[in-house]
């Protein structure tokens, strides 16, 4: 029992150690010179542009549904004028960033994990290394940075579409002009709602890119490990997102209240 515990603990510490080393290699290679602009732009396209449809539709529907569900309750109290503010605050502070990050974990972390995993298994990463090229710089730095930048942009887009969805939702029953709806939405928002929630999306993006790359890069031999890399990338990235979110709430509260 005790030995099982220590061996689990050792394995866990090894994993943490590996991740720290990997982070170090990533950080060292960002500033090494010879940044892979071409590959970076290609990754931004894949991570960002190719996720616009999924993320956009999700954002719109979240806003739409949230409005439809809260409007009747608020109406009962004669408080339907609070609907825009309620929608904007809940979307921007919490629902938008977290749901979009989780969707990106499913779409992006898994595909990076599978891609690098299959490159590892088919010896492409080894081939890059023995040709004296730098696989971390080419594959890892570009992907992590692309995620760190594109996930916040996707989230901002999704937030905007969610508000639009909210306005459409209100108009299913009532007749509210777009100007009025958006003026009320923005009036309810404060600096302390917007900035921390944008900042945390950068961390979400980083976590998605990092976990995808780490799992792919360290997948073991054999083709079945590609699937395992993709799967565990999604699981760990999702967990990281929830954890970062919990920590971000604490920090925000410390700073602003």
């Amino acid at each position: 029992m005790a030995s099982a515990l220590t061996s689990t603990f050792n394995r866990y510490m090894e994993l943490v150690g590996d991740q720290v080393v990997f982070t170090g290699r990533f950080a060292k290679n960002i500033f090494r010179g010879g940044f892979e602009w071409g590959e970076f732009v290609r990754q931004c396209f894949i991570v960002g542009y190719l996720s616009v449809g999924l993320v956009g539709i999700t954002g719109f529907i979240i806003g739409f549904v949230l409005t439809l569900q809260t409007q009747p309750t608020l109406k009962e109290f004669g408080a339907e004028s609070y609907v825009p503010g309620m929608v904007s605050i809940s979307i921007i502070r919490e629902i938008g960033p977290v749901i979009i990050a989780l969707i990106c974990a499913g779409k992006i972390a898994s595909s990076i994990g599978a891609e690098l995993g299959s490159m590892k298994v088919t010896e492409q990463i080894d081939a890059m290394e023995v040709s004296a090229a730098n696989p971390v710089q080419y594959l890892v730095v570009t992907r992590i940075l692309a995620c760190t930048i594109m996930v916040p942009l996707l989230t901002i887009m999704a937030d905007a579409l969610a508000m639009a969805g909210g306005w459409v939702g209100v108009n299913v029953q009532d007749n509210v002009s777009a100007t009025l709806f958006f003026r009320k939405s923005f009036a309810a928002l404060e600096f302390s709602d917007v900035v921390p929630s944008v900042v945390k999306t950068f961390f979400f993006g980083y976590a998605i890119g990092f976990v995808g790359c780490y799992k792919g890069y360290h997948s073991s031999r054999g083709t079945e490990s590609v699937g395992r890399a993709a799967n565990s990338a999604v699981v760990s990235a999702s967990l990281w997102i929830i954890l970062i979110d919990a920590v971000a709430v604490q920090i925000t509260n410390l700073i602003y209240y």
Binding site: M128, V130, A132
Partner: protein, 258 residues
């Protein structure tokens, strides 16, 4: 350009009396799995050594140690006169520039065309920027493996033999002094295997490389080998020319030649 590269190679190899790779008492385990128990080998300049052995004997592990992809547990491992484990990352990079590694699967970068695959080490490692010069080297090396037409294809559109050729071209484009081949003909039909084996010999003469070739394919071994070593149970158990080993009384060795 070409001459200076060749000269550089000559001075590098001349330091150790024509021995380009020296392995002594090399050991490597993965957990409880003792793969390499006692490997000894000298590869001389211009020589082709074929390594024979059943699957899972650690042939690939040996050449991965040579290329610095795996770290051996014990023993001496010198490439071009320098102990591989003591190289700094810059020295390791320099050593790898003189080393060509043909992977069993070809290991072509599957998101890139053949042209991009071949240009990759030129732009990343040699930091070449002159488009015309890159194009020239790419087309030259493709011509020497007989695949000029495939330049704009993706690896997924190539046959197994073509992938091996492109993989070979990608390593040769760096003009290596030493080539490591991991099963260059496995999975190919007999005619293509023969073509690849002959290509290895031609390229060896053209680029003056020394090579270690892992194979199960006796036809390939007969064509390319100056010397053959047989690996069994983590050790090299016999060495000699093709004819010497073919007539060996030892059944373990003899079996390969049947």
């Amino acid at each position: 350009m070409d001459d200076t590269l060749v000269q550089e190679k000559n001075t590098a190899t001349a330091t150790d009396e024509e021995v380009v790779i020296r392995i002594e008492h090399l050991k490597k385990s993965f957990g409880d799995n003792e793969v390499l128990k006692d490997i000894n080998l000298e590869l001389h300049k211009g020589e082709n050594i074929v390594v024979l052995g059943r699957s899972g004997q650690g042939k690939s592990v040996t050449i991965q140690c040579i290329a610095g992809l795996l770290e051996p547990d014990e023993g001496k491992l010198e490439v071009l006169g320098k102990e591989v484990r003591e190289l700094s990352s810059e020295e390791l990079k320099e050593m790898r520039m003189k080393l060509g590694f043909l992977f069993q699967s070809g290991a072509l970068y599957d998101s890139m065309t053949v042209r991009e695959n071949l240009a990759f080490p030129l732009t990343r490692v040699l930091k070449m920027t002159d488009e015309a010069e890159i194009e020239k080297r790419v087309t030259d090396v493709l011509a020497s493996v007989g695949l000029e037409d495939a330049i704009d294809k993706l690896p997924s559109d190539l046959s197994g033999g073509m992938r091996k050729r492109v993989g070979l071209a990608r390593t040769l484009i760096m003009r290596p002094a030493i080539m490591l081949y991991d099963e260059p003909t496995t999975g190919l039909d007999p005619i293509t295997s023969r073509e690849i084996s002959e290509l290895i010999i031609q390229l060896q003469e053209k680029y003056e490389t020394s090579s270690i070739i892992i194979t199960h394919d006796m036809n390939c071994a007969r064509i390319v080998a100056d010397r053959i070593v047989v690996m069994n149970d983590g050790k090299y158990i016999a060495t000699g020319t093709y004819d010497e080993l073919a007539n060996s009384p030892d059944e373990l060795i003899n079996n390969f030649f049947k």
